[in-house]
Subunit: 490 residues, 4 copies
């Protein structure tokens, strides 16, 4: 396992293919620092005695101790631990811990490549390739992003119906030594600070869309790849320092006729498995949200609780009622993930067939519970902001600038008039509100809300998953029986 320093060291040596704000930037550019601070924690935590049990695992390939973010889930316990690790680490940064995409994509590809390799038409030994890549990835303790979301062009048209066929990443050429891919994946969190990128399809596919059924791994600074990076930073503080500086980045990853050698290809042309790869990454990722979203709620609850304390309204009925709403959302989200882990099996849902065994035996969370939990917490994002706004009052919207709080002509007057609770030091009150603004009233806040709402699949995607996979007929049978109706033909 690597240290934070080793992680940064390797990044510093990568090729320059990041574009941001009109420039080409280094991976250790100051604008990436917030995000690097966060990712660094996933290395620290694996060495920290207080968290190493949760944050490491035993590789099922080598038997060695590895970072849990690079592990293939062998049982329900692994899934429980992934959920708890995610909540723990997110609680340290008050937001996304940013390394879950690698584990979620690896687990999805692990199962899909296994099944696809069985076919006599397989173009290469997908699963063997994957296991070799995985062993290297685990032992080097690398960080992977997952590139799933395509630009999609006209949204009501399928990949093959688009005027421009590149609206979904696809294979434009098959060679003896590998494939050439073209297209762009967007909203790819932390691709600019990752070592590797795992690419999976974006959706279910049908005949004629074979070229879109492609999974592979690629170094994030690879030739033929351009990343256009959007960084998200909190306002820099001049005087009132935070406990931790955080940030994150998103990339448009553009595959400009990028060549991928066969040993890094894990799926190529199998439309059914391509659709399952899309579904499975989403499923594992929604399960990850059962760790990070309760953590996000923990943070909101703490924020709401402190705002109420400072405002002196912590005992009022309407504040208690709002706190209970936040707790309900967070803990129902956690319970859904917990149950999804406990009821996990090496199975996937197939339309018309229900649940069927899939993959080499690694564990897949229960899809219904993973989806109901993600949907609940995803939809709650803006209501959480409303609760914070309600409890905080107008204060954060017009809070003085740091420099006015230090200007001798205004400092004492502002401290006199800002003080709302004599039991809490005024400096703590100031730091609290500045942090509150970062979380709820900044550009950083706005993008986080969009991420929390759409990341891992918009609520409508979970609703589709839920109604598609739920055994509706058995529920109708309950009614048919009680109402005395004639029974369905079995």
């Amino acid at each position: 396992m690597r240290t934070r320093a080793q992680y940064l060291e390797r990044l510093s040596k990568m090729n320059r293919n990041l574009y941001s704000n009109g420039e080409k930037i280094d991976r250790l550019d100051p604008r990436q620092e917030g995000a690097l601070n966060v990712m660094g924690l996933t290395f620290d935590a694996a060495w920290d005695p207080a968290s190493k049990d949760l944050c490491t695992a035993t590789s099922h390939i080598t038997g060695e101790t590895i970072n849990r973010f690079n592990h293939i889930h062998q049982n329900s316990e692994d899934l429980h631990k992934k959920q708890d690790m995610t909540r723990l680490l997110c609680n340290k940064v008050g937001g996304c811990i940013q390394r879950c995409m690698g584990i979620d994509a690896a687990n999805a590809i692990n199962a899909v490549s296994y099944e696809a390799q069985k076919s006599p038409k397989a173009k290469t030994a997908y699963h063997d390739n994957f296991l070799k890549w995985l062993e290297w990835f685990q032992s080097e303790d690398l960080v992977a992003s997952c590139a799933q979301t395509d630009v999609k062009g006209e949204r009501l048209k399928r990949p093959a119906e688009q005027i421009d066929p590149d609206m979904y990443v696809h294979v434009v050429e098959e060679r003896s030594d590998g494939i050439v891919v073209r297209g762009s994946k967007v909203h790819i969190s932390e691709a600019s600070i990752s070592d590797e990128i795992l690419v999976v399809p974006n959706r279910a596919l049908q005949k004629g869309e074979e070229s879109y059924a492609v999974c592979f791994a690629v170094p994030s600074d690879y030739e033929g790849i351009k990343q256009v990076v959007h960084y998200h930073l909190n306002r820099k503080r001049d005087f009132f320092q935070k406990g931790i500086e955080t940030g994150y980045t998103d990339s448009y990853i553009i595959f400009d006729d990028c060549f991928i050698p066969w040993e890094r290809v894990f799926l190529c042309g199998e439309i059914q498995h391509g659709g399952i790869a899309a579904l499975l990454f989403a499923l594992f990722h929604r399960h990850s949200y059962s760790g990070c979203k309760p953590a996000a709620l923990d943070y909101v609850i703490g924020m709401a609780g402190l705002a109420a304390d400072i405002n002196g309204i912590d005992k009022t009925h309407h504040v208690r009622e709002m706190l209970s709403r936040l707790i309900m959302t967070g803990e129902l989200g956690y319970a859904a993930g917990y149950t999804a882990s406990a009821l996990a099996k090496p199975e996937v849902y197939m339309p018309g067939m229900g649940m069927v065994p899939y993959g080499p035996g690694s564990y897949i969370p229960n899809s219904i519970y993973a989806n109901v939990g993600r949907c609940l917490t995803g939809e709650a994002v803006f209501h959480e902001q409303e609760i914070l706004c309600n409890i905080a009052g107008g204060m954060p919207a017009t809070f003085p600038f740091e420099k006015d709080l230090m200007n001798p002509e205004t400092k004492a007057l502002l401290e006199k008039y800002l003080n709302r609770n004599p039991k809490i030091p005024i400096e703590d009150q100031i730091k609290f509100w500045l942090n509150f603004i970062d979380f709820g009233l900044s550009g950083y806040a706005g993008t986080s809300q969009y991420g929390n709402y759409h990341g891992g699949g918009s609520p409508i995607m979970e609703q589709i998953a839920i109604t598609t996979q739920y055994d509706l007929e058995s529920k109708k049978d309950i009614v048919r029986e009680i109402a005395g109706m004639s029974q369905r033909k079995k």
Copy 2:
């Protein structure tokens, strides 16, 4: 274990102390038949090979096989099974299975009497008394109700502040051979078809309210007890028979200076344990709702699904979206209960102390998860009705009477004009809508909705439990750390 017939046989011999609609009635009165049909199923299911694993347990006292409804939970597995048994049986009746109060009260008293007996001031050997009663209760396979809700008089006043001190059931006399109690417990489901009644306090108590801290068991036809019974029946059918006739009853149980011998007294004067008894029964009961409410949702989902089928709108987006809402509510409620079972411990929450060991080692569900689940599903009741109304359209509100559907002058015309889906036999459509009306547009429906909303504690009670017991300070600490505030004093 008894059979349904043995259960009915014993009831038939009980003293007549039931008053309903101005008359004294027998326990096997036709108006009680619907409720008896339901309760009878809990006996059938314990013998039925398909369900006996779930519906029976091994007594921790005698080692004998007993009905699970009379069991003390020895571990998480027992709680998982209680939840699943409840969902299974509720699915057979499309509503409440009506025997959970006995198990929930017994588990609460088991823990409370154990702790109370430790005190040198204990007035009798509470726990020994309870175990003796329990062994008899288990081996005779009896049905118990739990009488918790007091009439409460002026609701913002405490028991001891009421003008009439009888607004909460209390001890009015202590004798050498037992105690005399007075007051009335209300909304007591199925007391009129139970063998025994377990009485527990309604709320937290303080000094000066010792007489209200009382737990005991009493036969439901005991001297000094009058039950005023409200029965709830579906409309009787003339032609279109249902698959099962169900019903339920509620009693006002009036203790008119009723004498209870010491061997049936499990708590008498210990205010702290009295409050815990109130809390624990509520907690176990809210956990039971994690079985019955998902079942209620199963029924609503089936109803909504069939209504959509008949109306031919099952594929429309807005119907799918509403179905996903119903599924989310039911399965999040289930997940909350599942997690409450998995994280159960022999512990209770004590104000100012957090979780502390309590009772003889029997398992108590995690309170936060039991409460968030119950609150979610309780609050959803009227929204579920709205969804059913939305999908059904106006049809159920003006559906013809059965006799018009059979009158030769109108039958053919009505069948012609009622038919909405040529693939579903018209008789099935008719039976469906009649059942739909029973469930959503009848007096039976109205009372069920109130029961589902308030039973086991109104949503506001769960919100109070949640905010009281949640570790809010640890969430504030997360924020203090990140915001760079000075830390709380530990």
Copy 3:
């Protein structure tokens, strides 16, 4: 203008074509009494000095004083008065006043027949026919129902696509002296106690659906018509009398090849005007809801307020908050109707053309405001029930039967234990809860809720009307201007 007695007298002489519960019944059958009590009030109020200004109008045909329920709106003031009359009268019965369909259908047909008669292809002098009918209708002070809702068969198919063409009422034969119609209109409120029935189409129509574009008036006991009647009654009281007995009825009106003479035909084959007739009746009717729904809220507010008083929680924050929700719904609904009246014009919306002059100058409420108001109040129905349930607690679900409250063996005990507020006489508390049950927990309640939700058009219908008719492009232009985008081509 007639008196209540004259109204009943005329009904008593009508032909027997009502079928209910397997029998043929008279119009003055006891099961219709509740509904007749309500309708009777519309006659009383027109004579009552306290309400005559609101409840009468001056006929624009004869200049004579007529019941406002039979009036054609000449200006905004007329619409304001219709709204206020409706709220006033609904407040007397705690529900629907049941005579608005006549006025709403008459106003719609007045405009449509005027436009249709202009065409050289008009099959008869539609508007002349209508004015002649209207003059007679006004001077005789008759009651009209409006039959709009067809059975609709397979709901996603248009009228002409149905397997059975009779799923929408249509003309099956045109003769020299009139037309023959077939089909069934359903959910027709108060048709069984009305003198006349006005028939209008159910939806927009297209080429090939000419036979469905038909409007006419027919006596409600006419040859060729069968009504299958569903009556809705409150529970009869034995001891605790209410201030007024109310009820209502719905009919399936079956046109079994019913002949209509030309002088009663107001539209026949004009598909465009047929669609507008459907839209206009709905629009006028939704405007009527701006009177009755605020009244319904008045009733709910009063109920909630008294329940809180009796329960002694009227000062608590959460009750005040819930009351404010109810007030908001009612008064926003009223304001929407008020604004729809104030901005009324003799115009209708035409797809692609926006608002265009229509009809002989009579006033048509603004469609956007009428629709947003109806949608808001329609959607609130079940939430109102939740609020009532929340404030009332479990009491109404298990309230003793009247006879138990009078039985000497239980009366005193029940009165002791039911009493929650020493300042309110126990008899008043009892009457309150019995009335509460009628309103919220009875079969009557269930059907009312469905009526309040779907009547005048389900919320989804209003949403469609709103988005179809709203000038969305002008809103986009605001954004285009500010964002600096190139402007839309005008």
Copy 4:
């Protein structure tokens, strides 16, 4: 009436008392430009033939034409026009027009000073003073802010209970020539670009709080006043220019023992009228929200509509449904304001007395309708953001920076991959998303949301106003009558 240029000219000459970001700044500082652009429009519009009818009025003092923002409402028509002027102007800036506080405060003080002057104990001729000030203010066409919100210290304590008595602005000395005031008003929009500041109390007052019952006018650059200014700016554009640059400012106005001469004092010590002044400013201001909030919705609707167009999902059911929600909120808010204007009277609500005549005859909007409208639209703010987020998808959260869109190495690739709708020029799509980000995902956005939620009074304040002023007893009487209960004593 002044021109925009004259307005700026006068500001340029004011004393420097603005502090922002650690500096003292000029009133024409670039950071104030966005706000000045907006305020300037209120001058342009009064001269513009297209809007002058709406944006000017005839002074009831001088009979001269004045800017409507400085007018005292003489009738309902004036209120209708204020609402429509506000909506019109807000539509030009996609946000707050920023001049309504002057008109709302002036109308409140006009009534209050009139009543207070009647008292023999009046300390000066309050109303005469006010009229003299007003005449000057109108003829000079000045801009006024209103300073109402105090810092409030410990929020559950009254002004006189605070440890520091300066937590609410109050009179610390009465002299023969005037008064000395101390304290700080916060969140005062546009005080840094106004000519005058009108000060009114923040809340109802009681005996012992006389020093807090004070109204006066003061130039915004007056001696003894410091303004700590928070400016809110959209991101500056390098390439893709917007149609208008907007911004706004808020001030902490600190009265550091500021002397006010008697001729500028309009209330001083009259606690009852002080409370009414607080209430009346809030009421007029909530009425202003019936203009600006529908405009805000117009903007959101346009934004949602264009996002749906670009994403190609404008015809889908769920988008139509969300659009209908937005339209409902905006138009119900408008209808509430319209009705509040139409039912306006020269009356205020007095606890225990209901509505009573108040002031010199100027018109006061109906309080119930003004409050229900403001509450509805205030509460909807975050839900509107959710709808925008839902329709937009993840795009705005990760949208490339302007400079990347112009960088030759990435420009063509980004334009290829960003294009979602071939019918809309890519430059328009880019400008749209950049503007979308300004509105929903920026610091500017966050503060706007807080302003829209809390400005004019948080939703809970309106709920309190509604339940306090509503005639609840008359609603209970409706129920008492129907339920047959004994009637309330009148």
